[in-house]
């Protein structure tokens, strides 16, 4: 099994937490992993991405070649579009529909979503609304991860275990909130496809 995943968003939206959860699950399964992150200046409200590669075999490059990504997982709809050159012909885009507007020339939300709809295989969801309904808007990133879970090639319970390990120190409430977010996202993805 081999998955090349681009995680996208804006600095501070929590793409690294998603990467950590997938990474922990993959390592638990004995898989190889490489995950290139963005630190430094771009973290200040700029566009950020992480190249996450998991495979049963050793991985050469830290960066995913263009046209080879199996998945683009984005916490922001315009950011999902930025990485289309990396998406493979049969790849999936899983994205939040709620824009993060911190530039004056951000395009109309509807035109952005119309572009996402043109992508052959996509899952769109309002992760922030779902997170808010669960009680904390901060778990929107984990909702998105849940929506991506059917396409990861990793058993769902392994992701749950990774969440328990990652948030265990913060107490049961935080663990349960994140598990609920993961399940809510997964449920929507199944309903949509």
């Amino acid at each position: 099994m081999k998955k090349d995943i681009i995680l996208a968003g804006v600095g501070g939206q929590g793409i690294l937490s998603i990467a950590t959860i997938i990474g922990a699950a993959a390592v638990e399964l004995g898989m190889h992993l490489k995950q290139a992150e963005v630190h430094g200046m771009s973290q200040r409200g700029g566009d950020v991405q992480s190249h996450l590669r998991i495979s049963d075999n050793p991985i050469a490059s830290d960066l995913i070649p263009q046209g080879k990504a199996d998945l683009v997982i984005s916490i922001e709809p315009m950011e999902a579009l930025r990485y289309l050159p990396w998406l493979s012909n049969d790849g999936w885009v899983i994205t939040n529909t709620e824009p993060f507007i911190n530039v004056p020339n951000y395009p109309e939300k509807e035109t952005v979503l119309a572009e996402v709809k043109k992508i052959k295989q996509h899952v769109m969801l309002d992760a922030e609304k779902i997170a808010k309904d669960l009680g904390n808007i901060k778990v929107a990133n984990v909702v998105i991860l849940g929506a991506a879970s059917p396409y990861l090639g990793i058993a769902f319970d392994k992701l749950e275990t990774a969440i328990r390990e990652m948030f265990g120190r913060k107490g049961d409430d935080v663990v349960n909130l994140n598990l609920e977010a993961l399940r809510a996202g997964a449920k929507i993805a199944k309903e949509l496809n």
Binding site: H32, Q35, G46, D62, N105, T111
Partner: protein, 530 residues
């Protein structure tokens, strides 16, 4: 031992601890910061009483590491590439004195300038200083190499560079650890005279350094990190340096490469392997993630040897970070690019955080400077450099750490007034203090705004050496007390900040204005080492 999932920086930090360092010395700088941070948070480092507190700048960091080496213990000194410019004096001269305890300089380059003002290649400086250089191709190799780097440093009595790039520094992979090695005891050098660089001794030591070079070349030839893989198609031979090797191999996942490949991860170049590949192959492709340092070296000025391809002849782009696609193109492989980015996607540059104190300072400064004309504000390296971007457009120049104060002095000397500097608290103690002393000595007409957010913000909120002593430093350097003005940058204090700036700009001498409010990212974090 179970694999740990580590950033390249973290793998290097763990390796240095396991190789028995007694201290890490560093100033924060992307992409090297996480090395020292990891050691600061490590229980193993605490148990071993490994020094890990930040230094004031890269020069003090390197000199302290050198002192630890002279005392017989192992020391790691880390910095970003431009930090090495600051530390150039101890860097070059410690090669002349030689090392005692293992001494490794970890330099993190930033091709494509993700978070830097240039993309200089530190391998060229290792060559310049006549010291060996390791360039890992992945996280595990970075871990393993650190042991060899320290061993080579002690065996050859020479500082050793390990050069990485942003991509390796900030990429995570599984790393298997080795058994930790004990720290060295204090052990003075039997011939300490070599550490005294009086001209007569320096001349002798310089010759000794040159005499070490053949042995360093032999070490490279025998290095397990320099690997020759033969191939049947000798129309092309490929020399892949450091991380570039991964981008090369990414393109041969389905079928093996038919061309001979020489992977280079230890310098000076392994001469015998270079001679073999250039003799056997019709053309040579050199792939380096940085400057075409060794491509140019192999090509030579007269370019009369075998054809050497790479960044200089357009086979690879002349500038910027490499990736698998760029290397594929150089090998004549078809492009794999997916769909184009839709036209409506706009760029999203970094910006000051919502609620950042620098916003309030720039709003007031822009109002004051409005009637005083453009081109009067010199800024520095840090989050506040973002004041160069809209909506502020507040800055005329930004060059290097500490330069705001001295550039403003130069402008003032030239008669371009008012002359205003904007510098952060940590950048000020890094290398702004000496420039301020120059201003004080001459009573230069400058207004220096030290934006004090009580942290080293851009690199993630490390402790600032200026914390709790900023105005005392200014006073100690001779700034008049009544012209050191402290204000809280908040929207409600806008009129007060504007007034203070106007008054101090009107003053025909050295003024320091300190807008002081903590970085909103670090609120609640401890600001001292206790």
């Amino acid at each position: 031992m179970k694999k740990a999932l580590l950033l390249g920086d973290e793998a290097i930090a763990q390796a240095a601890l396991d190789a028995g360092i007694s201290g890490v010395y560093a100033y924060p700088g992307t992409p090297s910061t996480e090395i020292a941070t990891y050691i600061q948070n490590s229980q193993q480092a605490k148990d071993g009483k490994v020094h890990s507190i930040w230094s004031a700048n890269e020069k003090t960091a390197m000199e302290t590491a050198i002192g630890m080496s002279y005392a017989g213990k192992r020391a790691l000194c880390c910095m970003k590439h431009v930090g090495l410019n600051v530390a150039m004096d101890p860097f070059v001269n410690s090669a002349i004195t030689g090392a005692n305890g293992g001494l490794v300089y970890l330099i993190a380059d930033d091709p494509s300038m993700h978070s830097s003002q240039d993309e200089q290649d530190s391998r060229a400086l290792a060559k310049f200083a006549f010291i060996p250089c390791f360039e890992p191709s992945n996280q595990q190799e970075a871990y393993d190499m650190m042991f060899d780097a320290f061993d080579l440093s002690e065996k050859m009595q020479i500082p050793v560079m390990m050069r990485i790039t942003t991509r390796l520094a900030h990429s995570r992979a599984g790393v298997t650890r080795c058994e930790p090695r004990k720290q060295n005891d204090v052990k003075l050098h039997p011939n300490p005279k070599q550490f005294i660089l009086l001209p007569a001794i320096a001349r002798k030591q310089y010759n000794e350094l040159l005499e070490k070079q053949p042995a360093l070349e032999t070490a490279s030839e025998n290095s397990k990190y320099n690997v020759y893989t033969d191939g049947s198609d000798r129309s092309l031979g490929i020399i892949a340096c450091g991380l570039a090797y991964n981008y090369l191999m990414e393109n041969y996942q389905d079928e093996p490469c038919k061309h001979p490949i020489l992977k280079v991860s230890q310098y000076p170049l392994p001469r015998k392997a270079i001679e073999k590949i250039t003799k056997e192959c019709k053309e040579i492709l050199v792939i380096e993630d940085g400057y075409p340092v060794y491509e140019e070296f192999l090509k030579g000025y007269l370019n009369q040897g075998p054809a050497v391809k790479g960044r200089l002849d357009g086979t690879l782009p002349r500038v910027g970070e490499l990736n698998p696609n760029i290397v594929a193109k150089a090998l004549g492989m078809p492009a794999t690019r997916g769909e184009d980015v839709p036209a409506l996607v706009v760029s999203r540059p970094p910006s000051l955080c919502k609620g950042c104190p620098h916003i309030d300072t720039y709003k007031a400064l822009n109002e004051v400077m409005e009637e005083r004309g453009k081109g009067k504000v010199f800024a520095d390296i840090g989050c506040y450099t973002l004041g160069a971007l809209p909506p502020y457009n507040a800055i005329y120049a930004c060059v290097d750490m500490g330069a705001s104060i001295t550039m403003a002095k130069g402008a003032s000397d030239a008669g371009s007034l008012p002359a205003v500097a904007v510098i952060g608290d940590s950048t000020f103690t890094h290398s702004g203090m000496t420039g301020l002393l120059d201003c004080v000595i001459e009573k230069t007409n400058v207004t220096i705004i030290i934006v004090d957010n009580s942290t080293t913000g851009m690199t993630g909120g490390q402790i600032s050496h200026a914390y709790g002593r900023l105005e005392h430093i200014c006073e100690g350097l001779g700034v008049e007390k009544e012209h050191i003005r402290i204000v809280t940058p908040l929207p409600k204090n806008h009129a007060e900040i504007v007034n203070i700036l106007k008054e101090e700009i009107a003053y025909q001498g050295v003024s320091v204005v300190i807008p002081r409010r903590e970085c909103i990212q670090t609120i609640g974090r401890s600001k001292t080492y206790n």
